[in-house]
């Protein structure tokens, strides 16, 4: 079957920047009210001044807010791999929000050269009573990069997390998310979006533990798979024997854009309480030919019709990003990615994304 390629096989991520020689390394198109920190090969970039809330270590960074502290700004941590350290890298980041504090965080990971990088990252997050976190993770690396991340999330009574994982590009991306809802009335929303093509691989494994009553969790993962790519989704919602009044929703939807792409999806529920509302679902589908014909009959060329449908498909996940400016930036990066263009911010020569 003849098919036009959207996310093209020859997508090459080709940055030229040399970080260490550069006096200033910053995202050239920062968003309003955003504070940036660079983590180069797991170390906080020394040129950048440390702001309150950050504690640096040789092996990752810790961001913490004290009791009642509200951070109005978006804190963007840009983690890059650079050819000054080509060996396998492991580091651990920590996010600690004390009681009734709130933060907005954006974590980006990029590779600055086309070398083979293997990155193993652990992100430990603790949200104390009534703490609130908006978290967006943007993964945009290259075909020869392997990035495995483990998110360990612990939430106390009344804590709120809105997390969105946007996996734009990478050779092999593996995200493990483990959430422990340890206090009543927690609210945990996790959105995920993955775009894979060529021979890329993506996997996600979510374990949502409802250990106590009266918590809600909501997971929505959506993926578009093209060419020979493959993805796995595995999700378990566990509801402990006493965790009554739990509300848990989990869904995973996939769009296969080629005959050879492969998705394995395993949504699972493990429920030991009897007064709960839980649902899960998974779908695997193809582009809607009727909708494509409708668009083409209005003069929208078939490739464009495919891209519009794909954008529409992922829209639901991006909608979860509360910050409008960031959501628009992500939408535009996703659109470029689907069009087979470099998914970089416009007007930026730094090429980090």
């Amino acid at each position: 079957m003849h098919r036009e390629s959207d996310m093209e096989d020859n997508y090459i991520y080709a940055p030229e920047v040399r970080i260490r020689d550069s006096a200033e390394f910053r995202c050239r198109v920062p968003m309003q009210d955003t504070e940036q920190q660079f983590l180069v090969d797991g170390r906080l970039e020394s040129d950048a001044p440390l702001s309150s809330g950050y504690v640096s270590s040789d092996n990752g960074v810790c961001f913490s807010l004290g009791r009642n502290e509200k951070s109005g700004k978006v804190l963007q941590m840009i983690s890059v791999r650079h050819d000054s350290a080509l060996e396998r890298l492991s580091f651990r980041n920590e996010i600690r929000l004390a009681e009734n504090s709130s933060a907005k965080l954006l974590l980006c990971s990029h590779t600055m050269t086309l070398d083979r990088y293997i990155t193993e990252e652990t992100v430990d997050m603790t949200l104390d009573e009534d703490a609130s976190l908006d978290l967006v993770i943007m993964q945009n690396e290259h075909n020869d990069a392997v990035h495995r991340t483990v998110f360990n999330i612990s939430m106390k009574r009344g804590a709120r997390l809105n997390m969105c994982l946007v996996s734009l590009h990478g050779g092999e991306i593996d995200n493990k998310v483990k959430v422990n809802l340890d206090g009543e009335h927690c609210e945990c929303r996790i959105g995920g979006l993955y775009l894979v093509d060529g021979s890329q691989r993506y996997s996600t494994d979510v374990r949502m533990n409802h250990n106590v009553p009266y918590c809600t969790s909501n997971q929505l993962f959506k993926g578009i798979l093209d060419d020979n790519s493959s993805a796995e989704f595995s999700g378990i919602v566990y509801v402990a024997p006493d965790a009554q009044k739990t509300e848990a929703m989990q869904s995973n939807h996939n769009l296969l854009a080629s005959d050879d792409a492969r998705i394995d999806t395993r949504p699972q529920l493990e429920i030991y309480a009897d007064d709960v509302k839980c649902s899960h679902g998974a779908t695997v589908g193809r582009l809607d030919e009727e909708a494509a014909f409708y668009m083409r009959s209005r003069g929208i060329a078939s490739r464009e019709a495919r891209i519009l449908q794909q954008l529409a498909f992922v829209h639901e996940v991006l909608e979860r990003v509360g910050n409008v400016e960031l959501r628009e930036r992500l939408s535009s990066l996703v659109e470029k990615r689907l069009r087979g263009e470099f998914s970089r911010c416009s007007n930026c020569s730094r090429n980090c994304c």
Binding site: F293, Y294, R296, S297, R298, G299, L308, L311, A312
Partner: protein
């Protein structure tokens, strides 16, 4: 403008159109009537280029070009517009983005620059007024959650935006109440110009009270069995199709 000669088409090996002959000139309104299953919708789908139908023989010329060699989008650029009997819902694609993509593609084909946002919104407001559509529809997903009448109005709005040379309206009156029918039909009439043409496919005469045809055809079993003036529609309304079928 449009010339169809001995057109045969089938779906899944079953022949639906069995030799259609039809000529439509600029400035004309043609009505195609016929009982269920006669091939009316197949004809409109074949003209718009739907790939599930296979044209087995015959010729279709549109503005001097071989229509059957053109993709659906090329037909649209050339000036064909199909008003769908059942407009498709496209969740997540807003009416604005949908129409902007379509219009800009048409402009690109004509060598024009993309339309500015301000101009586009002005044009959109103007054309929505043609079918008395509320501007709140522009930010909604294409046809998502629209009532039957709203979907049909959206079809005519799209037609107004694209200004086709030949509009084929497939059962645009189905599922409409009297008010919606009037709005849709008035919209079509407002868009009529000496240099464009319309083919109205319908079951019922009532739409033809508003959109007065120059020529009426009756399609039955894949062939046009009768062609006459607008009085034919009235006769069909009174006597049904049997007298034509058995003639």
């Amino acid at each position: 403008m449009l010339s169809i000669k001995d057109l045969h088409a089938s779906v899944n090996g079953k022949e639906i159109l069995k030799g259609i002959n039809l000529t439509v000139n600029a400035g004309e309104v043609h009505a195609i009537m016929g009982p269920n299953g006669s091939g009316k919708s197949t004809l409109s789908s074949v003209l718009a280029g739907k790939e599930t139908f296979e044209v087995t023989s015959g010729e279709v010329t549109f503005m001097g070009r071989n229509l059957l060699e053109m993709s659906p989008e090329e037909r649209s650029w050339a000036g064909i517009f199909l008003g769908f009997q059942y407009p498709i819902e496209i969740p997540g694609v807003t009416n604005v983005n949908f129409m902007k993509s379509a219009l800009n593609e048409h402009r690109r084909q004509k060598g024009l620059e993309p339309i500015s946002s301000a101009e586009f919104l002005k044009l959109m407001r103007e054309k929505m007024a043609v079918v008395e559509m509320n501007s709140s529809f522009s930010s909604r997903g294409v046809n998502v959650g629209f009532s039957g009448g709203e979907k049909k109005r959206n079809e005519i709005f799209q037609m107004a935006m694209l200004e086709p040379k030949l509009a084929i309206l497939d059962e645009t009156d189905s599922g409409l109440d009297v008010d919606a029918l009037r709005i849709v039909a008035t919209g079509v009439t407002k868009l009529k110009r000496p240099d464009n043409a319309t083919i109205v496919i319908t079951h019922y005469q009532r739409l033809l009270d508003y959109i007065v045809p120059d020529v009426v055809h009756v399609l039955y079993n894949g062939r046009i069995i009768k062609t006459a003036g607008k009085e034919l529609a009235l006769e069909v309304e009174k006597r049904g199709y049997d007298w034509l079928i058995n003639a």
